[in-house]
Symmetry: C2
Subunit: 503 residues, 2 copies
């Protein structure tokens, strides 16, 4: 395989940008070409998530080729939801590695701030499984439900979890101060964090990346430069939350990381710093665990102990992350790579000498993730410290066919959230929960009243207009106990799905 090197990079100042998507892309492209001392490239690989609905543009590859004055040049649009920028890098990487092209430009970005928050929330929620979306589930709502589950599994008090999430937010905002391209270049206080409103419990406004306009551009080449890409990997994950086996870890990241580490022949311990997808603060914590930096359930402690600080042993998001840099959805995966490259070149926000950095990008609710490793070409070969890297979760995790839960009449709360920022057409606050039904399957449902919710509560279920509604029965039980109770019932009293499960 032909080695792949990074030539020039360029990006716009992220934030609210009055220009059109094409004009924003043009600025990023122009600056990457200038930095590469090139007039043109062999092809364009364009990552953008949803210009169809954000700006009403389709045929975006041709539109952008025109906009950057490279009409004629092949241009492909690549999309994997919020990791589209990393996806475009993957496709461009393969094009150079094959020898088909010698120089390509990866371009990625999004234009979002011109829409209302509820309209943007609706477009972003399009990445969610249709059944869950119809319940009013948003990206923050599902991230919140994962966070509740994480807290339970890591045995953290609400206050302890809050401190950890606050720790991520404070660190990334503080890092953003040094990044001139970041949307937010001001630190926030602990008080400001805890005073910020809930978007979906337990996630506050400061736990969520902002809505952003911006574009990033990277020129890849087969000619040797100072930075190469020795490893890159991708993995997908189950679209719906209710069909998942695991909630507090993302198999898609593990698959991508295993491939990238194996390809670069390194271990997590050989990574000096990383940019990870902190669209929600808990996702930074989960990602650092999935990448093998910290054991499962220990990523939050690492933040509180300063291990991931800019002057710590493993800086995470020294650029400010999606949290402070901003999150133009299609562009973030490529902006991360730019920040890794800049840091390696000594041009980043952190002025420490690093040999090797990693970028991790998350598409949708961790349904399409990427890991890219960049290193200084003069970095010495390392001794692979982590034999496990090559044997991390394989791609084919066997899905247990969930039992149909159409007729379920009761269940137990597996995880839940109160959504305060709802999509168009849903009242706030909206109680959402993932309900474990007697058949063992999971079901996304809307709460019918304002009873306080807890994991393990028993609920009754009913269907209305194709949406499942739940009402708390009052009693809290361990999920396992309740399932056992159901399984002990005589088959005659068990309806439909439970019957099959009881066999």
């Amino acid at each position: 395989m032909q080695p792949v090197y990074v030539a020039g990079v360029g990006m716009t100042k992220f934030g609210r940008d009055p220009r059109t998507l094409a004009e924003i892309f043009r600025e990023a492209a122009t600056s990457a070409l200038r930095a590469s001392e090139l007039d043109s490239v062999d092809a364009l690989y364009i990552g953008v998530m949803n210009p169809e609905e954000f700006t009403g543009d389709s045929n975006i590859a041709s539109l952008i080729a025109d906009a950057v004055a490279l009409t004629g040049i092949p241009a492909l649009r690549i999309e994997t939801a919020s990791s589209a920028g990393a996806a475009a890098l993957m496709a461009g990487f393969q094009a150079i590695a094959s020898g088909y092209y010698h120089r390509v430009m990866i371009l990625a970005g999004e234009k979002m701030t011109h829409l209302s928050t509820s309209a943007t929330t609706r477009v972003l929620a399009g990445v969610i499984d249709k059944r869950e979306r119809q319940c009013g589930a948003t990206m923050p709502a599902l991230a919140a439900m994962i966070t509740q589950k994480y807290r339970q599994q890591a045995r953290l008090s609400e206050a302890r979890l809050g401190n950890m999430l606050c720790g991520v937010a404070l660190k990334n905002h503080a890092n953003g101060v040094r990044n001139p391209f970041a949307q937010f270049q001001r630190a926030i206080s602990r008080e400001a964090y805890f005073e910020s409103k809930f978007v979906a419990t337990p996630l506050r406004l400061y736990d969520c990346a902002p809505i952003t306009d911006g574009a990033a551009a990277v020129v890849l080449t087969s000619e040797k430069t100072d930075v190469c890409l020795p490893g890159i990997g991708q993995g997908t994950g189950t679209l719906s939350l209710q069909d998942r086996q695991v909630f507090t870890s993302f198999p898609s990241t593990k698959i991508a990381a295993a491939r990238a580490y194996r390809m670069a022949d390194i271990a997590p311990q050989n990574i000096d710093f990383a940019e990870v997808h902190d669209a929600f603060t808990p996702f930074e914590i989960i990602s650092t665990e999935d990448l093998g930096f910290f054991p499962a359930g220990k990523g939050g402690e690492a933040v509180l102990e300063g291990k991931t600080a800019v002057d710590g042993p493993l800086p995470i998001n020294p650029s400010g992350g999606l949290k402070a840099r901003g999150h133009p959805v299609g562009g973030s995966g490529l902006a991360q790579v730019i920040d890794v490259v800049k840091t390696l070149r000594g041009e980043g926000a952190v002025r420490r000498e690093f040999k090797r950095g990693l970028a991790q990008s998350t598409g949708g609710l961790a349904t399409n993730n990427f890991v890219t490793i960049a290193q200084r070409t003069d970095a010495p070969t390392v001794q692979n410290l982590w034999a496990g890297a090559g044997t991390a979760n394989g791609a084919h995790h066997t899905a247990v066919a969930p039992t149909s839960n159409q007729q379920a009449e009761e269940g137990v709360i597996e995880t839940f959230t109160l959504v305060y920022v709802t999509p168009d057409g849903f009242l706030s606050p909206l109680a959402l929960a993932l309900i474990r039904t007697p058949g063992g399957a999971l079901l996304m449902a809307q709460g019918e009243d304002d009873t306080p919710l807890k994991i393990g509560q028993e609920v009754s279920l009913r269907r209305m207009d194709g949406i499942s509604l739940f009402r708390v029965k009052g009693q809290i039980r361990k999920v396992q106990d309740t399932l056992m109770k159901w399984f002990r019932r005589k088959p005659v009293s068990v309806k439909g799905p439970a019957k099959e499960a009881a066999k």
Copy 2:
């Protein structure tokens, strides 16, 4: 570069399909895996044009990975408007050629028939330049304007052009009869063609590919099989019609063909048969010229002489083409490749022994085109008969910056059409013309009355609600004469743009 081979292929019966997009994809994927005797692949490359607006699905790569029960496997969505299927093949080709993957599945399709014709027309029109779209321009309308210009440049009478377009329609419908996967499997008569309604003059219903649901799947592998892909190329073209230099030929096809021929080290004369993008019958004629099969302006005669018939020297669209096979927009570029492969394997609609076939796919209004060459692995090396292949139009055609035409008050009709099938919000029939303004630039405008139109007519222009409106002055002149007249004016009487042009 690692050679790339075709393993199994599969597709659904094109037409109106009541299933969801995911279910349609699943059938195609399953049949290609079965034909390849495989349970899985290393990655999925998914071509689909606009599920966001057709079916309300985004994050489609993850959704399809789930749907085909390959969750975990990397999945990229590739999009270049109506050539998305060919684009996905290109990205998958590069992945195999690089050695990064050894077996990938290309999956491409679209689900469209559940929407009304006017809603579908609106979504499809999203690929057009925004300014032209706001005038009410549709894909058939722009194709019609190109056809008017082709007729003028090839010096064809209306009747002669009509016979040629009819010839394409009759041939492709007759070919479709032998293709069990085609949407239309019945021949049409000359009478039926000429009785069919105008969609946009001079294009009739039978000149336009239908609205279709369907999916196609191809497994590419680095292991030797009976069919290889020795050449593949891509090129882009100017999005808007009003910014183009050439109307009756598509530079994007020429760029793609030059690369594919050079890579395969063959000439157009070495191609035994081809599937070309006949979304509109005149595009088949133009494509066969751009591919170097026939001289410019002679493609229509070749049809009438039977040269492109299934038993002729160079069968074009022996599968029935988009015209009869159907046109699920994101899927057509891959379905073409499947039909080429089947024909090479002796499993296609035509039972002739061929060594080498070509597929040409068009994205948008020829803004993102692909050429893929497939050949039997046992085909002997050829003597390249066409030295010109390597030197066809280069990628960087220099764009002459058009003079702003904001204030133009008059102009001359460069080409025009009457649109009978209009998008949502536009009354039928709608007169559209491309007007050459005194500054030399082109401008898309709506007719204000029902005066019969001709190329060369002088018109007056005015702006209303951001749209240009024209009214015929009555006199027909050669465009050149009128420009000369304008240029001879004294600068003092020349306003804004014309002034600059006159310098």
